[in-house]
Symmetry: D3
Subunit: 138 residues, 6 copies
């Protein structure tokens, strides 16, 4: 069993704002992240899959295929978008780094399962100082 | 004469869209950067000043002071903001990396001139693959 | 369950020197790290906590709070200090990267436990080529 | 128990080409990586060992010794070499990142076992966008 | 006048070997870089152009166009290639970082001149510790 | 004419303290950098030389020689040292980044002049947020 990781990236706008709360409460909890006119980030995404090594190729997964899956089903849908408004698989979700990572896991899982390997983790950097890692499960 | 540089950063939303043009023309020129619902970046800003070395301090400029000037007059006004909507010194400007860098130069110049050194350059990274550098002048 | 990480940093002096040993033995074991007049590093600290996602905020932990805890109880006490002489929670400890990481874990644990999440790991870079990771326990 | 990591690097040429297959099949599977005249990479290698902290040194392992072992038995044999042609411990192996990482694990294991710690993982970056991690076992 | 830079990359094999010299002389001058079976690098290329800012776009150059030019005429011809054997515009040149940078300048110059800006510099990293910068001229 | 740069590094302790001043004045000017028990940094040093390309080697300078000069005359004398106490060529100088960069220029100049190239600049990073660049002269 070996773990292999592909890095992709996307640049997006978002805001953290709970419509059930007052502006004051939103500002208290989310601070400047609740700016009504949005802000944005260069996100770096690391997708890790695990599998055994194929003796003909030396590959656990073909990274060209993995990269194409990530770009087609995830980063092409997030890049240069508004995470609150533009992304079907983020509808109704607060676009915190945690929720974006979990949504990416759910989008990728069926496509990774169709390959001869398993999805191990989604690591998502919002800035170079903040990142989350999700391994599936509740 | 020695050159000293301070790095600061800000995270902001923007779009590149010329209201004099049709959506098609905007999309042709700016591509996905013209998304009406915005996108965003983690910007890295490098401010370089030049001066002579003070024999009592070994400093050409006190970086605590330089950092405070950059944050007070520039990055605090850009961070977690929308560059098209929220920033007084960007009003009426297309928020391309070029125009943001030039606007930062203009904001900083009087404050740097009040120190015992000269503003040499503004280097602004929009992504790790794209940056501009401005040295003043036309 | 999701894992979230905050990066902070501090710049400090230290030396590795065991007073029970001769200078020769110290030099043999610690090499140039035993220089009696100290040397120093820019340390990068990554604190990872795990928790579930709050449905109102999308947060597993509020990173503003986590960052404030790390700075107040750890990095403000280490930054621009001598790890052998100046830091109450390092007294009597050889300031190896291992021991600094373990001491940071012990300092942070009660404050993280008071949040609605668990401390998962302390990752401490002494240089870009050397780092330790501690997950608690003996 | 604490985990400590040492980074080393090497620059090497390789190609991915299965001699049992036609050129067309090789190109289909490996793409431009099958270029008959080779290509190459700057590889970054992270070796992680785990152990307990020695109370006299504060060390779990002496990184000077660990670095010397990695360079002597691994990176000196890979640096400025052709991974298909020049490396005794890669003979007969497709030099995919997976296989290079596993081969490095096998080379290092007896030397790490002779220290007072255990080999935990080999993390090998082929590019900044692609890396594998191996923890031993089948 | 403003300077704008686009980063691209390529991975290639090469060796430094002067056929007019003996193996001993080649080894004396080029060391392990003269390995007959090649070695390789992940090269990072920074192309800087200068121009004035267009008031309709805020651009000095359209980076999509600049990137396409660099990839079409330079990096697509270098990526996953052997710099001694595979690259028409490197024929007869020792593939030192200096000569690769100068050859890239010559390839790009007519295409940049056809844009409304000037080629300012080619910066080429062979490793993170070694890079050259070329500004044209003799 | 081409410019080539070699990166080296050193880890050192220092403090910024002017003995002609009171502790209060030192704290006012230098802040936490005046901590009497020292602090330290991982310094990154970039030495740039310029020259023409030798047609036999493709080199403007042999980087093995340049690296050896930098390490022998500069970084071996700074690494794991106290910049206020241990370094002959820093005696009597406030070890600000500016003064360390200028002192390195003076140490290297005769050795670079003995090669077939010219010293162009010394760029010294104290942290990833602060660096100075010196081109010689007053």
């Amino acid at each position: 069993m070996i773990y292999i990781t592909r890095k992709e990236h996307f640049n997006a706008a978002h805001k953290l704002y709970n419509p059930k709360w007052s502006d004051e409460k939103n500002n208290e909890v989310f601070g400047k992240c609740s700016n009504p006119n949005w802000h944005g980030h260069n996100y770096n995404l690391y997708v890790t899959v695990k599998g055994s090594v194929n003796s003909d190729t030396g590959y656990s997964v073909n990274l060209k295929e993995l990269s194409l899956i990530i770009r087609t089903y995830v980063t092409d849908k997030l890049d240069h978008k508004n995470l609150n408004l533009d992304v079907p698989f983020m509808q109704g979700l607060m676009p915190s780094t945690e929720n974006v990572a979990i949504a990416i896991w759910k989008e990728l899982l069926p496509y990774i399962n169709a390959l001869d390997c398993q999805l191990h983790s989604i690591k998502l950097y919002e800035t170079e100082n903040n990142y989350v890692e999700y391994f599936g499960g509740e």
